[in-house]
């Protein structure tokens, strides 16, 4: 049976099928435009179990197909769908409307501290350029012909690296960081957290290159230890701890994280 466009949408978007006849409506404000633009109001059916990403998707599919945003996995793994929701950077696929409605009007905007391409989609290129500038690439000394390195999971360095390696590159910490906001050159918490996980990786050999970045003009010394990165990280990482570790290493200490 060939389905019409609306029927295909209904099947692929299971939320729609469950909307009651006269649902309570959400008043949603969505940013439209680039750096310059305006807030646009939308009325979206409220559901018991509904994420911010569901709301944005509903608007695009049922009201304005021109609304631009980015997502991929919908389950909190890819880091694509981060936006500013009621003033805070969040991962929208795992943020439920019920969590944020109590904080006032549902307002959805693009991530801060990155150029806006259109509407809710930001250009992530500067974000990843900072990863590069912080020496965020692994450079091993071994070849594929060598036996794999034996690293004890209980070693201090490995335990420290484990605390920071689950970053999903969503850019939430970068958007939450006040220092990034007033100094666009600062490498930021995500890039420095990545650098820290390599700094404590005993297999990595690219330390000299990395040190030029992390201890340079745009590096870890710019951090004010506000901790916004840690508070907002959706996967519970602690970039502030990682940056503190980099500072300690700069003083010639072992650099185990924590403190300032």
């Amino acid at each position: 049976m060939k389905l019409g466009r609306q029927e295909v949408q209904d099947q692929t978007n299971c939320e729609l099928a469950e909307v009651p006849e006269n649902p309570e409506m959400l008043d949603v404000r969505v940013w439209r435009g680039t750096q310059q633009g305006e807030w646009q109001h939308f009325s979206v059916p409220k559901r018991d179990n509904q994420t911010i990403l569901d709301v944005v998707t509903w608007i695009q599919r049922h009201i304005d197909p021109g609304l631009s945003y980015r997502f991929a996995c919908r389950v909190g793994m890819c880091g694509s769908c981060a936006m500013t929701v009621t003033g805070r950077p969040r991962w929208t696929c795992r943020t439920h409307v019920a969590q944020v409605l109590s904080e006032g009007v549902l307002e959805i905007g693009p991530l801060r501290n990155l150029p806006v391409i259109k509407d809710l989609a930001v250009d992530m290129a500067p974000f990843f350029e900072k990863w590069r500038d912080a020496g965020g690439h692994f450079e091993g000394a071994k070849t594929r012909h060598d036996p794999p390195a034996q690293v004890s999971p209980n070693s201090a360095n490995r335990e420290e690296a484990d605390l920071g390696i689950e970053c999903i590159n969503c850019g939430v910490c970068n958007a939450a960081c006040e220092v990034v906001r007033w100094n666009g050159r600062y490498l930021g918490p995500a890039a420095l957290n990545r650098a820290w996980t390599l700094e404590v990786d005993e297999r990595d050999q690219s330390t000299e290159t990395r040190h030029q970045g992390i201890w340079g003009e745009a590096g870890a010394f710019n951090c004010h230890s506000h901790g916004n990165c840690t508070v907002h990280c959706p996967v519970g990482l602690d970039p502030a701890r990682s940056i503190a570790g980099l500072k300690r290493r700069a003083l010639g200490r072992s650099g185990k994280g924590g403190g300032t």
Binding site: V179, W182, N183, H211, W215, G216, E217, G219, F221, N222, K247, A250, L251
Partner: protein, 110 residues
């Protein structure tokens, strides 16, 4: 001087200044509570190698610490960057050192 060296200098000077400021404040409170006159204070400090070294080190640490911190503040809060700022901060540090040294000499040299 690179950022790493400046960071280390600022942290080490801060580590020196923290206890020294406390001792200095304690000294002021002691002098006030004892009702010591300026003459009585100078009697104790003039010719004292201990106080000469203590306040000499204090002045050096402050002259190193303050310009580095001020440089960071100015770089964050104003568009001023680069060599002109670095030079201005070197001069500021030198000024602090000269003024501080004059005060130390005035207190410890008989």
């Amino acid at each position: 001087m690179n950022e790493l060296t400046l960071f280390r200098l600022q942290r080490f000077s801060a580590a020196l200044l923290a206890p020294m400021v406390l001792i200095h404040l304690g000294l002021i409170l002691f002098a006030m509570r004892q009702g010591l006159s300026a003459e009585a204070i100078l009697d104790r400090t003039q010719g004292s190698i201990f106080w000469a070294l203590f306040y000499g080190l204090f002045v050096v640490a402050a002259a190193v610490h303050a310009p580095i911190g001020l440089r960071s503040v100015l770089r964050e809060m104003t568009p001023w960057h680069g060599r002109s700022l670095d030079l201005a901060m070197v001069l500021f540090g030198f000024l602090l050192f000269i003024l501080g040294l004059r005060a130390v000499i005035g207190v410890v040299v008989p």
